[in-house]
């Protein structure tokens, strides 16, 4: 067993997914099975191999420093940004009060 219920609970909390004890009990063996299976990768000798960084040889293109050149990538569109918000007031998104 790669992961027990306590570990799954910790991961779920890190992933911000609330899970009941029942769900954890159900999920733990499933995840364990999957993780046990992927662990076969450990067999492969990769000491001479770099991790893949770009699947197709290609380098990062850079953009020009221009504001709002394209509405799809620019700002100045508050209505669109807020259009689907569960809570929006006075031009802000609203969230439950945060104590820092």
């Amino acid at each position: 067993m790669s992961v027990d219920q306590t570990t799954v609970a910790k991961i779920a909390s890190l992933a911000r997914i609330k899970m009941s004890e029942d769900e954890l009990a159900r999920m733990a063996p499933e995840l364990s099975q999957i993780l046990d299976w992927v662990e076969q990768l450990g067999e492969v000798d990769t000491s001479q191999v770099e991790p893949m960084t770009a699947v197709i040889p290609n380098t990062l293109r850079l953009r020009d420093d221009v504001i709002d050149a394209d509405p799809l990538t620019g700002g100045d569109r508050r209505d669109a940004v807020l259009a689907n918000a569960p809570a929006a007031e006075h031009g802000f998104f609203g969230v439950p009060k945060v104590i820092e």
């Binding site: 990769t46 770099e50 699947v55 940004v81 569960p86």
Partner: protein
């Protein structure tokens, strides 16, 4: 005149251009088919008006003597992973229910620019995670295909249309749409195409812009067409593809003239047969289809050679680390703050709201993958899991590189089995994952790969053959696919029961 819904992309486009029928007539016929196919549950939202408006524009342009686009008059289904402006976009998840984008994905925009119209948003596995279309919040898609049980036993079991592009495969196979968009992360175009007897191609990573496509695993996701012929796929891929400055992984290359350069003459070409794909337990009928495929390609003039892709066995486990890892991060944005579902239990703080929203909004398979992804990236495990998987991925890509010294295109089965019944594998995630064993290596290497229907098995269900090509060589894949299509003579279609 044949029924308009029997026509493919090319026939519709050419018929509209020739004035044999109007685009509006085509759209109307398909809207009727869509409305009558509720039982398949293939659409999350239907958009008959979109299809009609696009058709009217094409008809008007034609009347005005304007040049028509490559998809002019063709109504298509749009996988509900593509953001469509003003039309709900959900990724088949409760967490995005009601989300109406203020933007259009590059690929869908390209299709509209080419004269296509939208019949509706197609159901899929939630966030494209699944191989059977059983993880959608909006219910399973039911394959239009049914087994022909010789004894009538089990013949009527609902079958999986494949996944994640199961809505897409279902409507194209059922003659509800001539074509549909799909996305392929680890086989999500090819496997459903194989299950439903249609064609589907995943192009080279970077050919189609990912901008506006709900992300599953960024280094793997690619959009592609699903249609009933290789020619139709070539036409539609040409309309979808192209450089997009908004996607920094987009290939800055001209889109080749795939349709114009189609040729089933494979003289001088070498077709590689990877020995590692002959796995224990593979359905004998699948192996038979593979043998037939070799013959067909030989008949088309190709030389068939044996090759080896030694790390094939490790592709699936590497995929099930990399894809969930990327997904766990890509799906962090669904938090109930800016769009989509918000669950706010009494007295909940911000972090409680996140946990409640994501608990309520994500389905089990999505949660499973987020948890795996979170785990393999977490402190102390990153190197052993994620980095090791990316190293293995390098080896898998290298296997293909070496293979290209011996061959131009690779032929393999698309799936280890024909379509299975809904519910068959739902309680065994690992068994479900194994269904993508043949599809995943090409995804990990970013290579173009296609499934074309080869034959029906003894139960009357389609089997697909997969062609994998060199990076950027969609043409080679399409040409080999065309050679198979011409010789397989596959014209089976599901009997209408819905």
């Amino acid at each position: 005149m044949t029924e308009l819904t029997e026509l493919g992309v090319k026939a519709i486009r050419d018929g509209v251009a020739a004035g044999d029928f109007t685009a509006r007539e085509v759209a109307e016929a398909h809207n009727v088919a869509v409305a009558a196919a509720g039982e398949l549950n293939a659409f999350i939202v239907t958009t008959p008006d979109h299809a009609l408006a696009a058709a009217e524009k094409v008809d008007a342009d034609r009347a005005a003597g304007k040049q028509l686009g490559a998809m002019a008059g063709v109504p298509i289904g749009m996988k509900d992973l593509f953001a469509t402006q003003g039309v709900q976009t959900t990724a088949a998840s409760h967490i995005l229910e009601g989300f109406t984008p203020e933007y259009e994905s590059t690929v869908s925009q390209n299709l509209w620019n080419a004269g296509a119209g939208m019949l509706g948003k197609l159901n899929l596995d939630q966030f494209a995670m699944g191989s059977s279309n059983e993880t959608s919040y909006f219910g399973n898609v039911i394959s239009p295909w049914r087994r022909k049980g010789a004894d009538g036993f089990g013949g009527n079991a609902d079958l999986a249309p494949g996944g994640s592009s199961g809505g897409s495969s279902a409507v194209v196979a059922a003659r509800i749409a001539p074509a549909a968009t799909g996305t392929d992360t680890g086989g999500s175009i090819r496997q459903p195409a194989a299950f439903t007897g249609i064609c589907g191609i995943k192009p080279t990573y970077g050919r189609c812009s990912r901008w506006g496509v709900v992300a599953f695993a960024s280094s793997l996701d690619q959009a592609g067409p699903m249609a009933r012929s290789v020619e139709d796929c070539a036409i539609m891929l040409g309309a979808m593809a192209g450089f997009d400055p908004k996607d920094s992984t987009s290939l800055d290359l001209p889109v080749p003239e795939w349709e114009a350069n189609l040729s089933a003459d494979l003289r001088g070409k070498k077709v590689g047969i990877p020995k590692e794909y002959r796995m224990e337990g593979t359905d004998p009928e699948i192996l038979e289809s593979w043998e037939r495929g070799k013959e067909w390609l030989r008949d088309a003039g190709a030389e068939v050679v044996d090759i080896s892709l030694p790390h094939t066995k490790y592709a699936l486990p590497a995929y099930y680390i990399i894809a969930p890892a990327e997904a766990s991060s890509n799906l962090a944005r669904y938090d109930g703050v800016r769009y989509g579902l918000r669950e706010l239990p009494n007295g909940a703080g911000l972090q409680d709201m996140y946990a409640a929203t994501r608990a309520e909004g994500f389905g089990d398979e999505v949660k499973r993958r987020i948890l795996i992804g979170t785990y393999v990236l977490s402190a102390g495990f990153y190197d052993a899991y994620y980095n090791q998987a990316q190293r293995v991925r390098t080896l898998i890509a290298r296997d293909f590189e070496k293979a290209w010294a011996q061959c131009d295109v690779i032929l393999a089965p698309t799936t280890p089995t024909a379509a299975f019944a809904l519910g068959d594998k739902m309680d065994d995630p690992l068994a479900m994952y194994l269904n993508d064993v043949f599809a995943v290596p090409a995804s990990l290497a970013g290579l173009p790969a296609m499934s074309v229907p080869a034959m029906l098995n003894g139960e009357g269900l389609p089997l697909g053959l997969q062609l994998i090509g060199k990076a950027f060589d969609e043409q080679g894949v399409l040409n080999a696919g065309l050679a198979i299509q011409q010789r397989a003579g596959f014209d089976a279609k599901p009997e209408k029961w819905w």
